[in-house]
């Protein structure tokens, strides 16, 4: 059964119900008490997000200071339920203007009731596209981005658009200047052993799009990926142009992309929603350009002293630079005193996370700053267990760099009125989970 929920609850951290909606009769109104008693008030919280208590199952997620709990008593589709929660939160955020927390829920409870009524019926998720819902949801969020629209007059053909084949775009949009913004955002995930060999490395990227286009435009996106290029040269029977091509391990698309066409022709063609959305996600494991190499040496000198030397090497182009670089080097709990020497940036000891934190605001390419620190430890009798050495973690952003080497080759826009569009493309690479064992 694709039923996703019999009831949904929003609880604060103390377990008070902020708002709830029962969709089906098969779970009692007080089942949430069981959740509170058996999960929230025990150590079980956080051990498993799907739990059975009595005849009911609970799926829960924590988002900022709110628990969202779904209760079912049938063999529900869990994947559907969690995805529904994720999408619903995104929807609420787009109405509240960013934050989703206890206060936002209290301040918007009428709106949430109305949305909950609309986005799920009898436990079956319905249309969750903010673009379409704003056409006929009467309430406004606190800082709704759509506040200029007249809301108490329902759009005459709203219902056709909700259920239409292009369920994510409304008709009759007009912009003076037709613009498209493309953001290619990549996160590099790395796990490196203490000896410098790469244990696991991959890039998860997404292409975010912001469209301000009139009418019903058809878009086609070309990337420098291997399969797409091969297919293209096959169709046009001319050899692939030289230049770097990359191999995408997997791609997933926004629902606006025609998947059947992608499957047969390998082209990404779509009618975009209005405004901002995530066009596609991809994953790459081969040929990843790591932007940074970290070379740590940590020596434990007796029981009370440690010497930490870390060298970070930037391996992207010399003209580029990384922003907001933070390197967190874990140290034992009983650290008492630290002294640092850095060739760039600032370092200090942060006791709340038991780490030496080294920050470099602007980090040019092809450089290798170092940090050396002396750490003094209190020798305690209680700490019998040897220190487990958690991995070094790193955060950064490198604009105009893609770890995968992905490039946008073209973005074509067709609309029957034949207007010209301006396209903007940005690239940025961020650290995902960038870990170096030491």
């Amino acid at each position: 059964m694709p039923v996703a929920a019999s009831a949904i609850y929003f609880l604060n951290l103390r377990g008070d119900v902020l708002i709830n909606r029962l969709y089906r009769d098969d779970v009692g109104g007080n089942m949430v008490d069981a959740f509170r008693v058996h999960i929230m008030q025990t150590k079980e919280l956080g051990t498993c997000p799907v739990r059975q208590i009595g005849g009911c199952s609970f799926f829960y997620m924590r988002i900022s200071n709110v628990y969202i709990v779904i209760v079912v008593s049938s063999n529900a589709n869990v994947a559907c339920a969690f995805k529904f929660v994720v999408e619903a939160v995104a929807l609420f955020k787009s109405y509240f203007g960013g934050a989703f927390d206890e206060d936002a829920i209290r301040n918007n409870f009428v709106l949430i009731y109305e949305l909950l009524d609309e986005i799920m019926d009898f436990g079956y998720p319905q249309n969750l596209s903010p673009e379409i819902l704003k056409l006929y949801i009467t309430q406004e969020g606190v800082r709704s981005p759509f506040s200029s629209k007249p809301t108490d007059k329902p759009v005459p053909n709203a219902t056709l658009q909700v259920t239409g084949a292009v369920g994510w775009r409304r008709e009759g949009l007009v912009y003076k200047k037709n613009e498209v913004f493309l953001d290619i955002v990549e996160s590099v995930n790395l796990l490196m052993s203490s000896k410098g060999s790469v244990l696991r490395c991959d890039v998860t990227g997404k292409i975010l799009m912001k469209c301000f286009l009139s009418g019903m435009p058809d878009l086609k996106l070309g990337l420098n990926d291997k399969i797409g290029l091969e297919k293209e040269s096959q169709l046009k029977s001319r050899p692939t142009k030289s230049g770097k091509t990359i191999e995408l391990d997997d791609v997933t698309f926004h629902q606006c992309v025609n998947l059947t066409r992608f499957n047969s022709e390998k082209t990404v063609s779509f009618v975009p929603p209005d405004g901002e959305f995530e066009l596609m996600k991809y994953r790459i494991t081969e040929g990843v350009n790591l932007p940074f190499r970290v070379l740590p040496t940590i020596k434990e000198l007796g029981r009370t002293r440690m010497e930490v030397n870390v060298k970070v090497k930037s391996v992207f182009g010399a003209k580029m630079f990384a922003l907001g670089v933070v390197i967190k080097i874990p140290v034992p709990k009983q650290t008492a005193k630290t002294s640092f020497q850095v060739t760039s940036g600032r370092a200090k000891y942060n006791a709340s996370i038991d780490c030496l934190v080294w920050k470099i605001r602007k980090f040019p390419g092809q450089t290798e700053p170092t940090m050396s620190a002396e750490v003094e430890l209190i020798s305690t009798m209680a700490e019998k267990k040897s220190w487990t050495r958690p991995p070094i973690q790193m955060e950064f952003q490198v604009p105009m760099f893609t770890a995968s080497g992905l490039r946008v080759r073209f973005l074509k826009v067709w609309e029957k009125s034949g207007y010209n569009t301006v396209e903007w493309v940005r690239y940025i690479t961020k650290a995902g989970s960038y870990e170096i064992r030491c």
Binding site: M1, L22, N75, F82, T159, T252, R283
Partner: protein, 901 residues
Amino acid sequence: MSGHDSKYFSTTKKGEIPELKEELNSQYKDKRKDAVKKVIAAMTVGKDVSSLFTDVVNCMQTENLELKKLVYLYLINYAKSQPDLAILAVNTFVKDSQDPNPLIRALAVRTMGCIRVDKITEYLCDPLQRCLKDDDPYVRKTAAICVAKLYDINAELVEDRGFLESLKDLISDNNPMVVANAVAALAEIQDNSNSPIFEITSHTLSKLLTALNECTEWGQVFILDALSRYKAADAREAENIVERVTPRLQHANCAVVLSAVKMILQQMELITSTDVVRNLCKKMAPPLVTLLSAEPEIQYVALRNINLIVQRRPTILAHEIKVFFCKYNDPIYVKMEKLEIMIKLASDRNIDQVLLEFKEYATEVDVDFVRKAVRAIGRCAIKLERAAERCISVLLELIKIKVNYVVQEAIIVIKDIFRRYPNTYESIIATLCESLDTLDEPEAKASMIWIIGEYAERIDNADELLESFLESFPEEPAQVQLQLLTATVKLFLKKPTEGPQQMIQVVLNNATVETDNPDLRDRAYIYWRLLSTDPEAAKDVVLAEKPVITDDSNQLDPSLLDELLANIATLSSVYHKPPEAFVTRVKTTAQKTEDDDYPEGGSETGYSESSAHAADGGVSPTSSSNVPYSAARQPAPAPPSPAAPVPDLLGDLIGLDNNAIVPVDQPATPSGPPLPVVLPASTGQGLQISAQLTQQDGQIYYSLSFENNSQIPLDGFMIQFNKNTFGLAAAGPLQVPQVQPGTSARTLLPMVMFQNLSQGPPSSLLQVAVKNSQQPVWYFNDKASLHVFFTEDGKMERGNFLETWRSLPDSNEVSKDFPDIVVKAEATLDRLPASKMFFIAKRKHANQDVFYFSAKLPRGIPFLIELTTVIGTLGVKCAIKTPSPELAPLFFESLETLLKV
């Protein structure tokens, strides 16, 4: 307008309800709207605002959509508690369902379907009929779901009014969202019905596959889930289906991806071309891996499913083991699941990398995770013969870190490795012995002792090592005591010198005289007798070669795996249990047809009925319904002699000379609901016994099921019961045919009471011994719930009840609280009479309900029962009065199981 709704939560000091009432009746529209918002706010925080029902409903007739939605919301919440007043809203609903605005039409139908009040349901039919044929797709898609709602309330009405036909027409609707919702509704109705309502033909199939391209992401999930039940006619059709579903793997919605995977896996079973299968496996891998970059909760669901998928199709992810390496900040539930999959994917090719990872994890902080990592190393050693040595060296390295729980876990797995590869790695025993003193967990201790006993001849100071444990013998947990006993016997048989001889006397003395654990005592007596009568036979038995164990990391049964794979993405796939195991809602219609399949009486087989609904004959050829005792005794030889001394019990079982143990020759019953497992296959060398006491027509039976998971056929089953509170004993022969490997047999054993009485405080414990011709004697404990014994004549008249209550002294009253039991509805209590607890009366006391019941044990011992509870909240108090108050604890135990169902 709105935005800062929190202001509606603030209250004024003077009476809130009257003030709201006044505002709701205000002549100003805005004031009324604000008032309704305040009512909703109060409802949200759990205040009872049902008294404002009439006033809120009065606001319903409005042009303002916002206000209308709020009133509808209120109605959904309170209509059930005010069914008579809810009828007031019907007119507006019916009118709204004809409104020119499609949003209002849909809203009216949607809301009416949510109000589960019979009177409203009657009025819902006409508007629903209209809306199913509405011009506007938004109204039609809402009406489609509404049919499912109505079916849930009143299935007959839906069938009578022809809504199912209208719903089927909607499958051909030109709007994809209408199609999707109609499919969802039909699939749900089909799930709850036994007549064929929604059968997918190849025609519907192709229509739905086309709709797949156009509908919303959720609609795709509905359609894929419904289509996954479709059985393709041949390989070619299966290939065609798969071809049209594979593009869905690229969808951003994880639910779409998993539903597509489910459907592809189903069809793959039919596809014969290895090329096609290989190609599909290749296509499924990347999307599955991508699921691991979603939110941790979704990752968890994906990992549980991947666990199933790799059991059926290991090749899919064979090269992707790296993506399952744990990240330091992964939540613990994700780490645990990743570890499980890593073990499944470990192979000779990647084992070095995997071992490095496991070793890393074994130094992390979370104790449970560390333990599991150590255990994972052991499981890899058992699974991969060529890597076993490397695994062991990693384990030894970990032991050297000397972190207590790591050492203990390592010893437990090393014991298994010794079992798997006998006489191969014993050189490491010396290293293990070094950490002897640090062991403090029973399982680790038991494992170490087993190792010492098993290899006593190679350990020079084996006697000293064992002796160090013997000092604390009486304080050790049962598991350790049993191992100590066996290890000492092994030591003695291997080194029959003076030291071990003294030790064995101490141990046998401790284990027979000083203990009250029957398992230990019985085992000690068997050893004792073996050693004293025939030491050579003892050697054969105790030092016999053990069967080699295998890797358990692919543990799911193939038929269960099939069922779980058909349920990918659902709860069932997350729990790794079939849906029946956790979905409590009973299909009433389903029961009916089952009965039809097994005609009444079932006399040909004599046993066709299961205990759940077998009220009449056919349960046993010997028992006709009303004369249980006499009938049951006929075939039974003399009951076991009462008060047999313990050594005789031993003699009975070994010597097979007691009448009570009756050889078996007649075939017995299959089928019936699953019984609780009392002897798991792991302890029974592959024999699994499930059993439960039941009562049918006043006769008590022991319903038993034997499942043979071993490699040899088992026969010659016999059973004996230890003395127990109720004096239960077998009244007839245990009728079990030869059980072939991989099959199971079921039987009903008639029982008699008051034959085999034990002294001492009453206890529900029922100790059972079962043997067969191939295996040693198995002992297990079962529970005899008191309610099984309640008799049919336990119902009392009200007057009689009161009189009996008064006549018994207060000292005969015992009460107990059950703080975590909740009586969800009176329906729970309606079930009690089925267990021979009869309803007498009910009264209200303050906000609590008090129920009275009566029941009777054989020999006419009455039980008067008083239950106090608030329906729907936690906590039940039970007080009973009976001439035998010493049975009260048993009664409460039994009641608890009854109410917890």
